[in-house]
Amino acid sequence: MTTLNEMRLTVDSRSVNESYVRVAVSAFAAQLDPTVEEISDIKTALSEAVTNCIVHAYPDSVGKIHIHAQLFESGLVRVKIRDRGCGIPNVKQAREPLWSSVGGERAGLGFAVMESFCDKVRVRSTYGRGTLVTLEKQIQGRDYAV
């Protein structure tokens, strides 16, 4: 697969950065001429992944969140979200809708939303070492959407 372009972005795990990452990556992906819907899908899924880093990976501290976005000639957007936080002891359980390791106002829908709005979601996590989430979305583009 031929890469057209790529970007890297590292931010502190502060909640104020959630909107910044969404805007930065969606502006970058705009080169593929996506529809508004496709861009919104990427923003929503990415927001879930970044929020997970802030809420779960670094619950009591501020760590780094590394974003790596790639655009491919085929119209594929791949975004990797990596943290060096606490890791997920049981990825299968964490991906189940409505399951949340923290109480309060977290709906437990982060991964369900990522899966719903992306074509592919991969999660690799090592307990105590960190997590890598890979999101893939095929852009059909405005030429195809009539």
Partner: protein, 109 residues
């Protein structure tokens, strides 16, 4: 941005605004809960007309307000959803907890 809140003798309407994510939801939560506790209305209406983005934090926001509203004996309506917000809320099964209403669109717009 904290929502504008309209209070009548029977209802509290929160006009939510801008992007709802984990960061912004906290401020919205407090404003709505304060109004709910103060006026114990029979109806809580969450209006999404001016909302531009939501992720699952908005689902958490709605679920949390639903719980408090139920404690206080209030019904919950979620109004002016666009197709996308509606899809997310249905993914969470919110239509079982509250009445969801889509935004009305002008045909001649």
């Amino acid at each position: 941005m904290p929502p504008d809140i309209i209070v009548t003798p029977i209802s509290v309407t929160a006009l939510l605004c801008g992007e709802i994510d984990h960061h912004s939801a906290a401020g919205m939560r407090k404003a709505i809960d304060d109004a709910l506790r103060k006026s114990k209305p029979s109806l809580l209406r969450l209006d999404f007309a001016r909302v531009t983005f939501i992720d699952s934090s908005a689902i958490g926001l709605v679920m949390g307000r639903y719980r408090l509203a139920r404690e206080l004996g209030s019904r919950v309506q979620i109004v002016n959803l666009n197709e996308r917000f509606h899809r997310l809320m249905r993914l969470a099964g919110l239509e079982k907890l509250a009445q969801l209403t889509l935004k009305e669109q002008r045909l001649n717009a």
